[in-house]
Amino acid sequence: MQIDKSLADGRLTLKISGRLDTTTAPDLDAEIPKDGISAILFDFSALEYISSAGLRVLLTAQKQMAACGGEMKISGVNAMVKGILDMTGCSDIFSIV
């Protein structure tokens, strides 16, 4: 997995390439500051797949944003990832654009 990160005015953009799984999820988690962020945009256009470990990071981030009144968006979701988000009910929670 590769993460391209940009942070401007408290808005964090993370472009993730490759796989978001048990091995790589902690790396992604580490890239997300626990405060001072008002918005997170995940660019999944180069994401191959996501496992439940990746979902955990997304849910944690979503909770963090909900707690501080920020927003979180996910873009570029491929069919495989969309399938997993739908299956796990995460599509109802996340804002997928």
Binding site: T22, Y49, S51, S52, A53, L59, A66, M87, T88, G89
Partner: protein, 622 residues
């Protein structure tokens, strides 16, 4: 005891005379009957071929004269006088025609097939050699047949087989005066032997009973059974037809025997088609009449090696059926025992040669395919060339031959050759009944028509392909009689096997990317992300919760399915027992626990848990 065995010379002589009388009658009946039965069958075949006398024109009569090796084929009208059994027995060379009436409404005409003396002498030579080689007179007696004037033996008792090749070499001394119908004694093979001598179709024949023979009525039974075996051996009901009431009973008896033999033969063929992800195979046999000698077989030699074969035993009837069963058993045993297919065929040939009193032979095409590579090691021992149908429709007959027919030359060698199949290729095996089926104009179905049918139906599954061929042959025959057994087998290679590969990992987080890499190397990236996600979920569960020391991943892939098996030595835990999480709960109440296994359930075809030998075993199919 001595008293029991002490039979007076007079009694022994009487019984010996009776036994020799019987033997000579059997001999003549059998020899005449054999020639006659073959001729009768030819006449019968011709009435079926021609259907009506009008269709038997000059050209077709001369065609059949040639292909049957007879001297004349005629169409006649009127009534044929039947020869009496005694006339037949004594007629020897003079009895040389066979007749068969056409079916109604043409039953005032008949076909007459005849042999000249010269051809007949050849037929007799073959028959005497074949049938009387190991023919018992009583329990220990035998026939000696020698070509005259050379005195070369063409039949010889088994237990004296290698002692002499000429009559003189057996110890035979020409009697001072012709013995006529009298029994006389000779010192044969070093033993006093009671003999009767007669000339038959250019041969000197001696019916012999050694003095040591124990005379009982069993002798007579053995002789009678000999006739029965012959009747079946000839395989033609025509012979039995002619010999009145007693024969009719025999015929009924043998009709039941044939039925039994057919049942045995059919049940000897594998009924269950193999179930494999890598190939499909279908085979079938249609018997032409009574019991044929075709057979086929297929069986696994290992997880990735399968043998399949089609064979044809010469002849028809119970002898062919029994020989077929022997051949099938020996061939299977040899293939299971020998790693090399040519060695297996050579071994089969040796065993068939060693026990082949009726001089039967077998043609066989056998292939052993390695399902991992698609390579087939083949041996063709005198069999029809199979058709290889490539996925793109290219069809060719594989004409490579490996050696002679089986059962013929004991020391024959067989040269194997390889074929390579790719996914989608098919191999079609058959017996000569397919290509040698004639239509009503005496044209053969032939390889060109077969190739055409195979090309047009190449996309069908094996069973359908077989049926298409059979229907094409049957449509081609269009009412002409089905002359031979028809056996077809289609082997369709779908995809190579990838053998299961396993690797063991330590129960720690660092192992998970290693396991992912192992999976990718084995399955390839193209297999889709589902498998990788499932691996991630299961492996991470084991690493986090099992408290064991290792987990082992086995991967098995075929062209349309994948299987992962996880084994770990951790605490007994069935992940399938985890309740599904509430996927509609509000964000703050969302839990990750159970989400992974839920995903696994969704992404797989089936998932099974068991606890075996202290290991959790999770088997997952995609």
């Amino acid at each position: 005891m001595a008293a029991v065995w002490s039979i007076t010379t007079q009694q022994a002589r009487q019984k010996t005379d009776a036994l020799l009388d019987y033997a000579i009658i059997d001999f003549k009946d059998t020899a005449n009957g054999a020639v006659q039965a073959i001729l009768d069958a030819k006449a019968q075949t011709l009435t079926r071929r021609f259907k009506t006398p009008d269709l038997a024109d000059e050209a077709s009569l001369s065609h059949w004269k040639e292909s049957f090796g007879v001297d004349d084929v005629l169409i006649r009208r009127g009534i044929v006088r039947e020869a009496s059994p005694a006339e037949r027995r004594d007629a020897t060379l003079a009895f040389r025609t066979a007749t068969e009436y056409f079916p109604p409404p043409h039953d005032d005409s008949y076909v007459e097939v005849s042999l000249s003396e010269k051809t007949l002498a050849k037929s007799y030579a073959a028959i005497l050699g074949h049938f009387f080689d190991d023919w018992l007179v009583g329990e220990e007696g035998f026939f000696l047949c020698a070509e005259m004037p050379s005195g070369k033996l063409i039949s010889n008792p088994r237990r004296h087989r290698n002692e002499s090749s000429t009559l003189a070499g057996t110890g035979f001394v020409e009697p001072d005066s012709p013995p006529g119908d009298e029994t006389f004694t000779q010192e044969l093979f070093g033993e006093t032997t009671y003999c009767r001598m007669f000339d038959y179709a250019g041969h000197r024949v001696l019916a012999c009973v050694p003095e040591s023979e124990f005379y009982t009525m069993r002798n007579v039974l053995v002789a009678v059974i000999g006739i029965l075996v012959f009747l079946v051996l000839a395989g033609f009901s025509a012979f039995a037809d002619r010999v009145s009431e007693q024969s009719r009973k025999l015929k009924e008896f043998y009709a039941a025997e044939f039925e039994l033999a057919r049942t045995i033969q059919t049940s000897a063929l594998p009924a269950q088609l193999p179930l494999s992800d890598h190939f499909r195979l279908a085979a079938g046999m249609t018997s032409a009449r009574e019991v044929g000698g075709d057979f086929y077989d297929f069986f696994a030699l290992s997880e990735t090696r399968w043998a399949f074969l089609v064979a044809d035993v010469s002849g028809k009837g119970i002898t062919a059926a029994l020989y077929m069963m022997t051949a099938k058993t020996i061939l299977k045993d040899a293939l299971l025992a020998e790693h090399d297919v040519a060695a297996a065929v050579a071994r089969t040939n040796r065993e068939l040669c060693r026990n082949n009193p009726a001089n039967m032979f077998v043609t066989v095409w056998v292939g052993v395919i390695d399902l991992a590579t698609g390579r087939i090691s083949c041996v063709n021992a005198g069999h029809n060339p199979p058709a290889l149908i490539r996925a793109n429709g290219e069809t060719e007959f594989i004409r490579t031959r490996s050696g002679a027919i089986l059962g013929f030359m004991e020391d024959a060698a067989f040269k194997p050759f390889d074929l390579h199949l790719s996914g989608g290729d098919k191999l079609f095996l058959y017996t000569d009944g397919v290509v040698e089926q004639f239509d009503t104009r005496n044209e053969a179905f032939g390889e060109d028509r077969l190739a055409e049918v195979l090309r047009s139906a190449r996309g069908e599954d094996p069973a359908t392909l077989n049926n298409v061929v059979r229907m094409a042959v049957s449509a081609f025959a269009a009412g002409a009689s089905v002359a031979d057994d028809i056996t077809v087998m289609t082997f369709a290679f779908d995809a190579p096997v990838i053998m299961p590969v396993s690797r063991r990992f330590a129960t720690k987080m660092d192992s998970i990317p290693l396991a992912a890499k192992f999976l990718e190397e084995t399955v390839g990236k193209a297999s889709g992300p589902e498998v990788a996600v499932v691996l991630d979920e299961i492996a991470s569960n084991i690493v986090r919760h099992s408290k064991g020391t290792y987990f082992e991943l086995s991967i098995m892939v075929s062209h349309d399915s994948k299987r992962l098996v996880f084994r770990d030595d951790g605490i007994a835990f069935d992940p399938l027992s985890i309740p599904a999480p509430d996927v509609h709960a509000p964000l703050q109440e969302r839990k990750i626990g159970g989400l992974g296994i839920m995903m696994v359930r969704h992404l797989t075809r089936s998932i099974k848990y068991s606890r075996e030998n202290g290991e959790n075993v999770l088997t997952i199919e995609f």
